[in-house]
Amino acid sequence: MDVSNLDLKIWRGDAKGGEPVTYRVPVREGMVVLDAVLWVQANIASDLAVRWNCKAAKCGSCSAEIDGFPRLMCKTPIAEYGGQLSVGPMKAFTVIKDLVTDVSWNYQANKEIPPFTPGEKDLSSSEPWRMQQKDVERVMEFRKCIECFLCQDVCHVLRAHDLKGAFQGPRFMVRIASLEMHPKDVLDRRPLLKGKAGIGYCNVTKCCTEVCPEHIHITDNAIIPLKERMDDAYFDPVRSLLRRLGGSARKPSA
């Protein structure tokens, strides 16, 4: 590949405002967007704010919008674009500076989810637990999540409607699924799903699945089964009738 130049448009600014600035970057073979951004930082704009760590798509730090599409910068070869591309911060979160956004809300949301809770019998057993591979594989998909928050960024409930207090977003639906479907977890998180987690806000547009760099089937494997669980508990007409008749199909306590 010939050495050529890339016109890299990076959004510069802070919470008060900003604008894209174009930098000319010499292209190296196999260069990813993060390389280009870090080149600008080292050679032109030393105060260019950007988060990154592993540079191998394992930590989920370098999330950004590349030509408007939420992606990891370390995993996006510039060869996919022509001689120019633009990089901006995730729009669902408040900008701190340049490409760095305030994602602290996600950490608060995580705190609201009751952690892994095994049953009494498993807890008191002194023997190592036994679980079958096929039983754990289901939650392994969810545990692949690297918390890049790109799914949160693209989710219109959070992005367009800013309903961060009402809906925890796809990341935390995946988190709840990883706990609810853990073979040893016994806690019932359906009241949480209906309440604070706000799963009802998701209208299954699958945008989150599309941007997930770990290819987690967020909508199909996490959100829809969780919605079904919740609907069974709260909105099933047959169960509701049985409940009214004083039957055994009890509603989970909220």
Binding site: G30, S46, A49, W52, K97, P115, M140
Partner: protein, 591 residues
């Protein structure tokens, strides 16, 4: 004068302050909180992004789920032999005995490992481990570990986290660590932490090399902070080149290719198609210890048998595509995406990359206590367990075993010294440290910190490579000392802003990198032999006389000093365990 009233920084109190939120830091925080301490964790990045997340292959623990013959004694012997016998044998003993419990404990906290057909935790073979021993989750074991610990820690009472804050100074009061100064990356505001005890869990210093698997964070802050506070460092000459990093394309050079590839059957070939490990370690082949494999690849390249981009081929195409995709999913993805290589059909191109610091702060085996009162260290920043070469999988178990111990000891010590947090700190020292931190911002014409960082990397890459010699190390030391002088007056890259200014942050990190680089070069000059990760062309043989010697680095009024120290001999039962193990002790064969 008391500091609390000063307006220039916020004061935060905790019983135990933990620096770093990787595996060791989080495990220490959990243990300290269980011990009744109020814990504050401070980390440079967001929570869950620490370097632990990159660990791929697994966590070593002699649970004998796959090979019933495995035992702590064999794991101990493997660790000692892999470390070429200069390990702290007591640490290696504790580590081998306790790691199974630490892994099972993780499972009880929600971690989900791959299973055997009987439903137990599966264990995979790994370099220089006699038996299949690594509990794993595909090739993303570190992520599983950090997420489990993260969730445990944030849901535990008494643990608080300050993300994206960098500690730049440890503060002492009457000889005991009583606090630390930090800046917030987002806005440059300052925090003064007061604490009863402090645990360093800040990881390694791989960023001082050009080709590394480490992130921007790995600048050796903990080692440098401890050194500046008067703590001893140990085995600083021992840095690990991981044999298999990506070499091509240039943009991804250094990114790790997990040893799990070889654990699952991957073979190494040179450009002539020869399986060259036969000539370096016939018994263990690709699963020899990392120092041996890294030097073998290096030798092949020097001999002109390297691949087009200067490495070796790593081939796993003889395995079924489905097997590869299930056992090594992120490797499959990484090569497909970044190098346009389908590893189920084509070989990977790999070469050594800087990966891990065996050396670090000197600690007591039982508690992680350093030579400074109130200061503890665990994980990569500490030294001793791995000796001259770390075995794959032993770092994750290290984090768990010694993170827990350091956290417990720090909590107990903080309770014993409950008043330490209220002790008076030296105001002049605080102000001097802050002035030094801020200075680069006021030097708009000062040298660019990124350029200095690149120069440090060039010096270390050229002068402290896989195979070293006296003249190279000496020349390197001279250059590092010159860079030290330049870094002391460098700028922040032109911008004077406090708001998320990575140029300014880098200017500060230079100091840490330079302490680590100088210590490495000085210790490497002293160790006149080849052992493990430390290979010298002018002393190609291992000197048995030096098998019980560690080189200790400390700060003196005359500057950095290195001294040799003899370890007490192993007790009989441990010596017996080493004698009886099958693992071959690989003599040095540097040409």
């Amino acid at each position: 004068m008391d500091l609390v009233s000063s307006p220039s920084y916020e004061t935060v109190e905790a019983d135990v302050l933990v620096l770093g939120a990787g595996g060791a830091g989080l495990r220490a925080a959990i243990a300290a909180a269980e011990g009744g301490a109020r814990v504050m964790v401070v980390c440079k990045s967001l929570l869950g992004k620490a370097h632990t997340v990159m660990a791929e292959g697994g966590v070593a623990a002699a649970m004998h789920n796959v090979a019933y013959q495995d035992s702590w004694e064999v794991h101990f012997a493997d660790t000692m032999k892999g470390g070429k016998l200069i390990n702290d044998w007591r640490m290696a003993e504790i580590h081998a005995k306790e790691s199974p419990d630490r892994v099972l404990e993780l499972e009880r906290w929600g971690a989900v490992f791959d299973r055997t057909w009987q439903g137990r935790i599966h264990q995979r073979p790994f370099g220089a481990h006699t038996y299949p021993r690594l509990a794993h989750v595909g090739d993303r074991t570190g992520l599983e570990l950090i997420r489990t610990l993260q969730d445990r820690a944030v849901h535990q009472n008494g643990v608080d986290v300050h993300m994206e804050a960098t500690v730049f100074k440890l503060l002492k009061s009457r000889g005991r660590v009583a606090g630390a100064l930090a800046y917030r990356r987002a806005d440059g505001s300052l925090i003064l932490y007061r604490c009863g005890a402090l645990v360093l869990a800040s990881g390694g210093a791989g960023k001082m090399y050009r080709v590394t698997s480490n992130s921007w964070e790995s600048t050796g802050d903990g080692t440098a902070l401890a050194y500046d506070a008067g703590a001893q460092l140990r085995d600083m000459e021992m840095v690990q080149f991981h044999p298999t990093g990506m070499v091509w394309p240039a943009g991804v050079r250094g990114i790790l290719v997990t040893e799990g590839v070889r654990g699952e059957g991957g073979v190494l070939r040179n450009k002539d198609g020869e399986r060259f490990m036969e000539r370096y370690d016939r018994d263990r082949m690709e699963l020899s210890s990392r120092d041996v494999v890294a030097r073998a690849i290096n030798s092949e390249v020097i001999a002109g048998r390297g691949t087009p981009h200067g490495g070796a081929f790593l081939d796993i195409t003889h395995r079924k595509p489905d097997f590869i995709k299930s056992k090594l999913p992120s490797m499959y993805e990484q090569f497909l995406k970044l190098a346009d290589v389908d590893i189920t059909k084509q070989p990977m191109e790999v070469a050594p990359t800087i990966h891990y610091a065996m050396g670090g702060v000197r600690v007591e085996a039982e508690t992680g206590a350093t030579s400074v009162a109130g200061l503890y260290a665990a994980g990569e920043v500490a030294s001793g367990l791995h000796g001259a070469n770390r075995l794959g999988g032993n770092s994750l178990s290290d984090l768990l075993v010694f993170g827990k111990r350091a956290g417990e000891a720090a909590a107990a010590s903080a309770v014993d010294h409950a008043k330490a947090a209220a002790r008076k700190l030296d105001q002049a020292e605080v102000e001097e440290a802050i002035a030094e931190l801020m200075a680069p911002l006021e030097r708009p014409a000062g040298e660019n910190p990124y350029r200095l960082q690149a120069e440090i990397q060039d010096v270390m890459t050229a002068h402290a490579p896989i195979v070293r010699d006296e003249s190279g190390l000496r020349a390197g030391l001279e250059k590092i000392l010159e860079l030290k002088a330049r870094a002391a007056v460098c700028g922040a890259g032109g911008s004077g802003t406090l708001a998320f200014n990575p140029g300014w942050h880098t200017a500060r990190d230079l100091h840490s990198m330079l302490v680590n680089a100088e210590a490495l070069l000085r210790a490497a000059l002293e160790r006149k032999e080849s052992r493990g990760a430390h290979a010298r062309s002018d002393f190609p043989k291992t000197d048995d006389e030096l098998s019980d010697v560690n080189y200790v680095v400390e700060k003196t009024p005359q500057g950095m000093q290195v001294k040799a120290e003899r370890r007490p001999p192993m007790p009989g039962y441990l010596a017996e365990a080493v004698r009886h193990s099958y693992a071959r002790y690989t003599p040095e064969e540097t040409e």
